[in-house]
């Protein structure tokens, strides 16, 4: 085993030998390319990176990387990631999720992760559908989208994850499109570098249940604005955009949450003093 870390990592160094299984045409393949390119650009050894996920198509991604991975239960990836990062501040933690895992069953954790501002990067591959369970509506599904579970559509207003992230205190908010592999990789690099909770929503089409999303590549555009650190301006921007503006949309300057400190007590007998009479 070599004691030194190779500096010029290549994207391929971050891919495991497990062959990815998503539907051919799935945007998540592109996201995998982006993540491995981002990791190569970060130039961190794979063992210093942890990729944490829950359940869903997107959540298969940890096993496809050569990093430390955690594939947990549905919706709780942010909690696992936060626990890992707080306990091990030396690790770089990326949490991967989807719109069902992250916004529905994991919705409460999403808000509180934004608020807590642990220094990690949260990547949500949003395809506006539950893919793995065969096409049920997710919180970002359009109200008139017809599914077996919601005949005629849900009639519900879709969830706006970026607005919720901003309102909840996320320190970095970006939207990317899976088809733009390099652009997405660069956003991920910036998200990892940015202190605190960084949220990257990636529009990642589902070819199987949402073939209509093939049109996304013609809808997306670079946001015609510069990133802002003004939450009020960002709020107006996020409330009024059509969901297809790409790029870094908000950069905050909150200090990350990191309660772990150096030990001041070495002898545990110290703690008994409080009980002694």
């Amino acid at each position: 085993m070599s004691a030194t870390v190779p500096l010029a990592c290549k994207p391929g160094d971050y891919k495991s030998d497990t062959k990815p299984i998503w539907c051919p045409g799935c945007g998540d393949y592109h996201v995998l390319l982006s993540i491995t390119r981002a990791f190569a650009a970060l130039n961190l050894p794979p063992e210093q990176l942890a990729v944490v996920s829950g359940i869903g198509c997107s959540s298969r991604i940890p096993a496809y990387t050569s990093c430390y991975g955690f594939h947990g239960v549905h919706g709780r990836s942010l909690a696992v990631g936060a626990g890992l990062k707080v306990a091990r501040p030396d690790m770089t933690v990326v949490v991967a999720s989807g719109d069902g895992d992250g916004y529905s069953i994991g919705g409460n954790h999403f808000m509180h992760a934004c608020r807590r501002n642990v220094d990690l990067t949260y990547i949500v591959m949003d395809n506006h559908i539950y893919g793995m369970t065969k096409g049920q509506p997710s919180p970002t599904t359009e109200p008139d989208f017809d599914t077996a579970l919601s005949p005629g559509g849900t009639g519900l207003r879709p969830f706006n994850p970026l607005v919720i992230a901003l309102a909840s205190g996320a320190n970095f908010i970006a939207r990317a499109f899976s088809g733009h592999v390099n652009e997405t990789a660069k956003i991920i690099v910036e998200a990892v570098h940015h202190p605190g909770f960084s949220f990257v929503e990636i529009l990642s089409p589902c070819v199987t249940y949402r073939p209509d999303q093939r049109a996304w590549k013609d809808c997306v555009r670079s946001a015609p604005v510069e990133p802002t650190d003004d939450a009020a301006r960002a709020a107006r921007r996020l409330m009024t955009d059509d969901g297809f503006n790409l790029g870094v949309l908000y950069r905050g300057d909150r200090w990350p949450y990191q309660p772990r400190a150096a030990a001041t007590v070495t002898d545990l007998a110290e703690f008994e003093k409080g009980f002694e009479i």
Binding site: G69, V86, H112
Partner: protein
């Protein structure tokens, strides 16, 4: 409440043993409240059958405590005539009422406090030295100024003086002062200290009665040893956070009670499947649902033992007394870390929130030792088969050990599979590592001999022990069998413990006899087995258990 705590502390300083529990109304502040104290020369592990002394500062809603505060026929009630009469049932049960003019004394001395007058009176009736109380007052109130200390001392003196003339009150036997270091501690505090001693360095917390004190003790103290506590948004988050931190190599804990424990079940299964060590303390309260948050019950046994979906072997241990919370939690941490699984500590409201005065518990050497992988053959097999089933775990940051921990059925490498061979192999692995472990003598408390045995668990152990001691005084020899380890089960050890037992009494605090059903499922019990079980909220008393033993012995 302060009065009760001060009485216990003073009695403890004077060399007595004691136990304090509290009972309160539904109000957050300012409601009816009772401090229940038992003092004795010998160690105290449970409440007695009756109380000998009831001091009323006022009687507003005191009838709510009638069932909880049974009075001995010779009991004394101390009453301030200005605040009315004690509840009729209490008055009828007591042998004597002594008047203590608290209101009148305060009217004459506005700086005095009613609870200090009551404390002085109580101390006098018990025969507690006033110097001990004075020292305590100085310690507790010194930061409030000399005038407060002086007023408190004067109030205590006045209370004592008012009782001094009362003849014929039996005093407590004098305690032997010893050099043994003595602690005043609650079970929840002992649990937290045990966790720290076991090597826990991360906790995630969601507040819940009656477990919050564990988390509140860890919050300021974990950072002192380089650890951290994070308050989570819910119990789903808290347990998943500790799975994340422990996956990162840091021994981790969370504490909760029934409702929160129910929310944690899915992730407990994840910890067993992904083989991530975690410790989860469930301080049981009355259930189901929100139940009775401030009262004890043992009815979470089923969910702790059987609640996980799939075949998910895990550890369940139960502390048997307040100081045993320390040992058992430390042991649970050791087991979780050694066996790379989830360990559930089934404490309960009674041992969790009771405060006791005890001799300092002996040190034990259990410190979490996780088998870590440092040398890797290509490819690294996180879930490698063979040996005792415990496979070396790579800690993130370790070069060459990268793997993906998974709750899906997986291969030795951790790759998800639906293959039957891998499924069976990993199920066997996770069962064997727990079954093959040598749990040693801590698996159960085994005391006494004879053909009659009482089989109980958890916080009832103290009351059962006391009942058995009474039976011994009646000439009936009874064994005590109380497993501390509830999962995995120990059939050979239990068979040995039951060797020669012809009559068995199972004692538990559930409505549906969960413990008895569990015993029947896993162990061979004598044909002559009876069950004494009842739900909370009233604590199980030695007298009712003693009656059961004697009825069985007579039949």
């Amino acid at each position: 409440m302060t009065t009760g705590a001060m009485l216990l502390e003073a009695a403890c300083a004077a060399g007595w043993n004691g136990l304090l529990t509290r009972s309160v109304g539904p109000q957050i502040r300012g409601g009816e409240a009772a401090a229940l104290v038992r003092l004795a020369v010998e160690p105290v592990e449970c409440l007695a059958d009756h109380f000998d002394l009831l001091v009323g500062i006022d009687w507003m809603n005191a009838q709510r405590f009638e069932a909880e505060i049974p009075l001995h026929p010779g009991a004394i009630i101390v009453n301030d005539p200005a605040v009315g009469e004690p509840p009729a049932a209490m008055r009828a049960a007591a042998g004597r009422v002594i008047e203590l003019p608290i209101t009148a004394l305060i009217k004459a001395n506005p700086a005095w406090r009613a609870n200090m007058i009551a404390l002085g009176a109580t101390a006098e009736l018990l025969g507690l030295d006033s110097e001990v109380l004075h020292a305590l007052i100085s310690k507790r109130f010194s930061d409030k100024g000399e005038s407060v200390v002086a007023a408190s001392v004067a109030a205590i003196e006045a209370g004592a003086a008012a009782m001094a003339a009362e003849a014929g009150v039996a005093k407590l036997a004098r305690a032997q002062k010893t050099d043994v270091r003595r602690w005043l501690i609650t079970g929840n505090e002992a649990t937290a200290l045990g966790a720290l001693r076991g090597g826990i360095r991360f906790a995630a917390a969601y507040p819940i009665t009656p477990a919050s004190e564990i988390l509140e003790w860890l919050a300021p103290n974990l950072p002192k040893v380089g650890g951290a506590l994070v308050q989570a948004e819910d119990e789903l988050a808290s347990i998943n956070m500790i799975i994340g931190s422990s996956y990162g190599g840091v021994p981790s804990i969370t504490a909760t009670s029934g409702p929160g424990f129910s929310l944690m079940i899915e992730a407990l299964g994840l910890a067993t499947a992904a083989e991530v060590p975690i410790v989860v303390v469930n301080v049981m309260r009355g259930g189901p649902s929100t139940g009775i948050p401030t009262k004890s019950e043992q009815a979470d046994l089923n969910i702790a033992v059987y609640g996980l979906h799939g075949d998910a072997p895990h550890i369940v241990v139960a502390p048997q007394s307040v100081p045993d919370c320390l040992l058992t939690t430390q042991w649970a941490t050791h087991l979780a870390e050694s066996l790379q699984t989830a360990a559930i500590v089934l404490s309960d409201q009674f041992v969790g929130q009771a405060q006791v005065a005890v001799s300092r518990p002996a040190d034990v050497a259990f410190i979490g030792q996780r088998l870590k992988a440092t040398q890797f053959e290509e490819p690294y097999k996180r879930y490698a088969l063979g040996g005792n089933g415990v496979s070396p775990m790579a800690i993130p940051g370790t070069r060459g050990g990268q793997y993906t921990a998974d709750g899906l059925t997986h291969t030795e490498r951790g790759t998800p599979t639906s293959g039957g061979r891998d499924h069976l192999a990993q199920l066997d692995k996770r069962r064997d590592k727990l079954d093959l472990h040598d749990y040693g003598g801590l698996w159960a408390t085994l005391e006494g001999e004879g053909e009659i045995a009482v089989l109980t668990w958890g916080s009832l152990t103290g009351a059962v022990r006391e009942a058995i001691a009474r039976a011994a005084r009646d000439g009936v020899k009874v064994r005590l069998i109380a497993p501390r380890l509830l999962m995995p089960v120990r059939p050979a050890e239990m068979a040995a413990a039951l060797e020669g037992v012809t009559r068995l009494l199972v004692v538990e605090q559930t409505h549906s006899a969960q413990f008895h059903r569990y015993l029947r499922a896993h162990y061979t019990l004598p044909a002559n087995t009876s069950v004494f079980h009842r739900p909370g909220p009233l604590p199980m008393r030695p007298g009712e258990i003693h009656r059961q033993i004697m009825q069985g012995a007579a039949s």
